[in-house]
Symmetry: C2
Subunit: 283 residues, 2 copies
């Protein structure tokens, strides 16, 4: 018997890869089943932004408000392709804001639940916010889409399955790492879209803040950069069209680094701000 | 009978106001009792950074690692002076990192618990981190301590009890609001210390990221600026001496704003980075 799902229209010919792979089956009492696809993995582990989006979808269903205003995830252990269960808790509901918690679990060989990440989030309805903007923030200085580098250009491929789901075009100024000449600056910039052309929305922004190659590459580090914690603020529903993403690390110290991400939409609005604390392999 | 407490040496003549007021009485199973002093309130509500420090102290006791690396708090309802209970949960413990959750509750007139804020945090031991620093971040451009303005200068008093616990010296360049000429830029900078001279530590950094007058004042807004969510990264144990704090709001849009905070210690290290999402009263 077909299961009702959330985030999947049921018409498999038109559903985007992102919506298909973040689709959830509700089990009642704020519990959802998911199946982690191998398509969003990097060296076998599911991308942290994708996992945040998965919890974001569950909370958007469990809470009375649809949109994540602020979502923080702490990463406990690497998530692998396969079945998962998400448990949500509604902490507080108000007129304009609600707060919830969500955890994603997978299973060890004995079938015991192992927690992979836990999130705390405040939700609202971005559609109800006033139009006022008083900003001093400026969009990143990024060459036009067609002058940026895709993985097909062979200049900057990481060779992960994850890359195939994205339409990333990286600023050549932040691709020195791909030819053995990292700039030494912790900057990574590019255009972000989903490979199948799905338009951006608040959930895909949760992915996009963690989707570019790591800034650590431009600092001359080559290894894996596990995320300890990732917080994303979603500030508006993004306009259609490719997003501009700028990631910056200013302080690599004591073996830890912050990674700031800004996402600008085609209407020149700062659609998301994110920061993560990460622990790069030093090498 | 005297209660064992955490964060208070028991010698009331030498204990700092901050340590006395964040002292906790353990009740077992990760539960702690606290008493919220009126000294850290702004217009009757306890400061959000102070509350984060209180949960930070509880988690530092409950978890096997002493220092918050990243702590996120979501604020549910205003905390008032009086008794409170903190419930912690240990989510994961590893060799170098542990993850925990904490909630602070107060009581309604019927004695029912009302949750005030919930935090999720990753802890480690800052003393074990290597000394490497590769940073492009620069300390804020701040006049010397003696050329900055204290509340006693009459230029920039907010008249809150909270101010009396702090030794704040604000950059005159960010005090236009106090004389009716806000700059229009969302910047606030100053020197931060505790009024009784207590040295900074990771817990007081959790306070310091939310202790300056709001950046909204320099944007010409006059009301209260409730915090929705506050995330702080603690990057090192701060050196003794006054701290330099720079707070910046770049994007006020849709009635919401981010507030970024950086704290630099006397050894010119970036000791903390924080960001909050806040909802200023627009007026």
């Amino acid at each position: 018997m077909a299961q009702a799902t959330i985030g999947d229209t049921g018409d498999s010919t038109s559903v985007s890869e992102f919506d298909r792979d973040t689709a959830l089956t509700p089990r009642g009492d704020g519990v959802y089943e998911a199946n982690l696809s191998s398509g969003w993995t990097i060296f076998g582990a599911v991308n942290g932004g994708f996992l945040a989006a998965l919890l974001g979808r569950a909370l958007g269903d469990a809470l009375p408000h649809p949109d994540p205003y602020s979502l923080t995830a702490h990463y406990l252990s690497a998530s692998r392709p396969g079945p998962a269960v998400i448990r949500t808790q509604t902490i507080r509901t108000g007129r304009t804001l609600s707060v919830g918690q969500a955890s994603l679990y997978q299973f060890d060989e004995d079938g015991n639940e192992v927690e992979r990440l836990r999130a705390l989030a405040t939700y609202g309805d971005l559609g109800t916010l006033p139009d006022d903007v008083r900003t001093t923030a400026k969009p990143p200085n990024l060459p036009p889409y067609e002058r940026c580098l895709s993985r097909r250009d062979g200049d900057a491929p990481l060779g992960t399955e994850f890359e195939g789901r994205l339409d990333l075009r990286l600023d050549p100024a932040t691709c020195g790492w791909a030819v053995g000449s990292p700039s030494g600056l912790g900057e990574m910039r590019g255009w972000f879209g989903l490979a199948d052309g799905r338009d951006a929305d608040p959930l895909s922004l949760l992915l996009a803040v963690d989707a570019l190659p790591p800034t650590a590459l431009e600092l001359g580090l080559k290894g894996w950069v596990p995320t300890i914690e990732l917080t994303t603020h979603i500030r508006c529903r993004p306009a259609p069209g490719p997003l501009r993403v700028a990631m910056t690390t200013r302080n690599l110290a004591g073996g830890l680094m912050e990674v700031d991400a800004e996402i600008w939409d085609s209407a020149d609005r700062l659609a998301a701000q994110a920061r993560q604390l990460a622990r790069p392999k030093m090498g």
